[in-house]
């Protein structure tokens, strides 16, 4: 995607949505999953992903689990109970936002 600022505000919701679909995920896996789903259109950088994950962890929305994998430790993230509830709220908010944007960008389409 050319303008990364457009998705910056939705990054936390994207992460929560992916974790809702998987039991647990690690940072690199999240970047690859997003790349795969969007066919390379969306590339989440390390500089954006990890601060977002740490913020969600600090807010108590994510819990972490460490596992030893291939000579190194891997930090897995999973949703907490609070995180599961918050995911539903944030997805609703994002959907409403997308609908609002559509009414602005393409009013005829949104009326139909």
């Amino acid at each position: 995607m050319g303008n990364s600022k457009l998705y910056k505000g939705s990054l936390n919701t994207i992460i929560l949505k992916l974790l809702e679909e998987s039991e647990k995920m690690y940072g690199y896996e999240i970047t690859q999953k997003v790349k795969e789903i969007t066919k390379g259109e969306l590339n989440i950088t390390e500089g954006a992903l990890y601060p977002a994950l740490h913020k969600l962890e600090a807010e108590g929305l994510l819990d972490v689990e460490m596992q030893k994998v291939d000579n190194r430790l891997r930090k897995y993230y999973k949703l907490t109970e609070k995180g599961t509830k918050e995911t539903a709220n944030r997805l609703t908010e994002l959907e409403e936002y997308i609908r609002t944007m559509q009414t602005i960008i393409n009013p005829k389409w949104s009326i139909q």
Binding site: Y50, E59, R72
Partner: protein, 206 residues
């Protein structure tokens, strides 16, 4: 499937450590990210060897990678540990411990006299006592939540120094100050212990 060996992982670890990524929890995550990307490139047919691929990756991504990792203070984490501290204020351990410590500290203050050098030494001693717990458990390893909590403790105890010249025993101000310091100390102790347990359980380091 290409997998990096222990020496390769150690090399990434040392490189990131030398790039001022001192928090263990953050560095562990970055090591895995870099290693996963290098392995992915190798598995896609890049056979130039670990060091060349690593160098190329770092040229492309170093600034983005260390952007967050080398910050000793993170406002979100600071806010989170501060909230945890406030929640702990209402726990029975803190209430009971504070009453017990107040009695103990009050007797110590009376014994040493508030004007003496011991009174200025006291806040520092309590701060060091709380800050020493993670060092005893994890040694030189630092963790982001603990690091940010130490900032909170340092602010409080440094602030407390300003009141020391005004403490005259016995006075209301003296008892209020001693109560606040006692509650803060006991609550800091509880919060620090819970943070150490949090990391100990998850990272299985000690």
């Amino acid at each position: 499937m290409s997998k990096l060996n222990k020496e390769d992982i150690q090399f990434i670890d040392t490189y990131l450590s030398n790039s001022d990524i001192h928090y263990e929890d953050i560095r562990i995550e970055m090591i895995d990210h870099v290693a996963s990307e290098i392995e992915s490139r190798m598995n896609l047919g890049d056979d130039r060897g670990f060091y060349i691929i690593f160098k190329e990756y770092m040229i492309e991504n170093k600034s983005s990678l260390v952007k967050e990792g080398n910050k000793p203070f993170n406002s979100k984490i600071f806010k989170s540990v501060s909230k945890q501290f406030l929640r702990n204020l209402y726990s029975w351990q803190v209430i009971f411990g504070s009453v017990l410590c107040f009695w103990l500290f009050n007797n110590l203050y009376k014994y040493f006299h508030i004007e003496s050098f011991a009174s200025t030494f006291f806040p520092t001693f309590l701060m060091v006592l709380v800050g020493f717990i993670p060092i005893m458990v994890f040694g030189k390893k630092k963790f982001s939540f603990i690091g940010n909590f130490v900032v909170l403790i340092s602010i409080f105890f440094s602030f407390n120094y300003y009141f020391i010249p005004f403490l005259e025993e016995p006075s209301w101000f003296y008892y209020i100050n001693l109560s606040i310091m006692t509650v803060f100390f006991v609550c800091s102790l509880k919060t620090m212990i819970s943070l150490v347990i949090y990391y100990k359980k998850r990272f299985q380091l000690a």
